[in-house]
Symmetry: C2
Subunit: 369 residues, 2 copies
């Protein structure tokens, strides 16, 4: 399913190919987030225009609305979204701990309350995986316990142990699924503690496999980052973990990050990314533009100087925003609170991330990263 096609000689970076039910794509890649069955304000045609290779959808949100039975009627999450490329679904763990009212958590599973509806849901690792499989996800994530950023080692260790336990049960379920099953990734926890990270990784890989890559998992994710810690701490953990990760499996760093953080992480062997930064920054008026090579600037479109700047955000960018609209018009729409701004800004920032990944792959192939 995963094949490395180029390894860097100066870093741990690599270019690979990941084959999924809905297509094979080159790594490292960035996943655009379709929280509730749509990528913020954009149509599928627009995603295709900017070469989005894969999207990430949130299990928690899909469980809440429209729910499993409705999604089945849509012929799965692909039918719901109208997207025929690969989709990764998260396990729901992160959102359960950050968005819901947590009622009860124990080794069996987690009970939580949806604030919007008052509905109670009891989720087990088996249910989380079944849900993802039934909605037709290409890559399913194992349910994990994802604590907030904390120095409380006991709390983190407890989460590591439960994450392992849940991964074991997920693995047992996965074994029963035949050919054509989705790819399944467990998630390493352990917060900012090296030895807990190592313990978590070893335990996950030790479930019928080892850390040398003989595991039957389809990939490995590093979770519990981007939960409030400074990136320097996440990077320290990543550097510590990077040569312990199974080499011939794809490595997914969850929720990261700024362009420079992505580049640093690629150098540590990370192959997959997702992040709200391009869309959230777009909404808040921060637009990315390349200067030269991988160097870029952040254009704060609300600044007065852009009100008469009739050049595009990035002359070399091929997105529809840059092809058709000036900074001056974007400034006007932004300051006027016009809806159209959100669309044009989101398209451009996502395209910037797509182009960033293309440039990174190019640099790895050229031996420069």
């Amino acid at each position: 399913m995963f094949k490395i096609v180029k390894k860097s000689k100066i870093s741990k970076a690599r270019v690979g190919k990941l084959k999924m039910k809905h297509g094979e794509i080159e790594t490292p890649f960035f996943m655009s987030i379709a929280t509730r069955g749509a990528v913020k304000s954009l149509t599928i045609d627009e995603l295709k225009q900017i070469d989005v290779p894969i999207i990430l959808s949130n299990t928690y949100h899909l469980m809440v609305r429209p729910g499993l039975e409705k999604i089945k009627k849509f012929k799965g999450v692909h039918g719901l979204i109208g997207w025929n490329g690969p989709i990764l679904t998260d396990s729901g763990g992160y959102q359960i701990f950050s968005l819901s009212k947590l009622l009860k958590i124990n080794d069996k599973g987690v009970e939580f309350c949806i604030p919007e509806s008052g509905n109670k849901i009891f989720l087990t690792p088996e249910k989380a995986l079944e849900f993802q499989k039934q909605i037709g996800s290409d890559i399913c994530m194992v349910l994990d316990e994802c604590p907030e950023y904390t120095k409380n080692k006991k709390r983190v260790e407890q989460a590591v142990n439960r994450t392992t336990l849940w991964a074991e049960r997920s693995f047992n379920l996965m074994k029963k699924w035949g050919k054509g099953k989705p790819l399944i990734f467990p998630i390493v926890q352990g917060g900012v503690f090296n030895n807990l990270r190592e313990k978590s990784l070893n335990q996950l890989m030790g479930i019928e496999g080892d850390t040398k890559g003989k595991t039957r998992w389809d990939g490995i994710a590093i979770g519990g980052v981007s939960v409030g810690e400074p990136f320097s701490e996440a990077l320290k953990i990543l550097k510590f973990l990077s040569d312990k990760l199974p080499e011939n499996k794809p490595h997914y760093l969850m929720g990261v990050g700024y362009p420079e953080q992505i580049i640093q992480s690629v150098k540590q062997g990370i192959d997959m990314f997702d992040c709200v930064i391009p869309t959230r920054h777009a909404r808040h008026g921060d637009l990315f533009a390349f200067k030269n090579g991988l160097k870029y600037e952040t254009i704060q479109i609300g600044k007065a100087k852009y009100s008469t700047d009739f050049t595009p955000l990035d002359k070399k960018c091929s997105c529809n925003t840059c092809k058709n609209y000036s900074k001056a018009y974007l400034h006007h729409l932004y300051k006027s609170g016009e809806f159209l701004y959100q669309r044009l800004a989101t398209i451009h920032n996502l395209k910037f991330y797509i182009d960033l990944m293309a440039k990174i792959k190019e640099e790895i192939k050229k031996g420069k990263i």
Copy 2:
């Protein structure tokens, strides 16, 4: 500039052609509203796809932001919006009286304060017209005093008199403009009082012209409707005024309305419409769909029954929403609060209005309206 090509034998309805600097279009037509330099969430390409013939932009909003000097740098309102078809600009009167903090009004003009910035603006009828001309509007509206819906006849009469005075000064300015000047329409006021409406119309037409169509104005607008009165009252006024309007000039009924109100108004000889209903209703989950002929239904997309309705809003509709998306998906996006909903809903409702006008013209040509 305006030519009637077909007159109904069973009503006052007519089909005409109105020639403007940026194109000739058939009447009766509906204008989509681009309040602040964009039609709610849509790009110009999308407007063209649904055959929008003309858009209306709000002088008040454009004065506030980006302002005259900036618009000149955009090469006019067409350059700002990126639209090369006709644009009508309102006079700003309605918004001054409804949105701004009114500081002072007398025969000279009106002083108001922009709530967002605290800036004071003193607007005269000459300035309002100059502004519209300088930004390159195809049809400019004369500054009027537009009172709210009231039974206070004295208040309304005062507004009528001032509107006439301002129209006289506007006419004097217009006379100085040479060939290639934009079309200019004065606005009839008079509230729900027949004799004040008649007085207002006669006074406006009496400015170097008469009510038999010899006026040098390019058209006539009926304002002070859709300001809170029931439509039945507006229709009564319209029926009273309709055979007094200059026949060979286009008649514009401002701010109206629902599809059935548009049909009723067309029967009274109205040629031009604008209204927030298609876009506002779209936002609030009310979507229009034709049943047969001019009959239509309002689909409340939030209703549970649409959650598994995989048919389009209107099978015969050619808009991208109907071609690509089901009611079930729209329901999901609407209930999820997804941005994409707004776009898809706005496109469809505007297309419905465009199709409505096409059907109306067809019916007039066939002698059925």
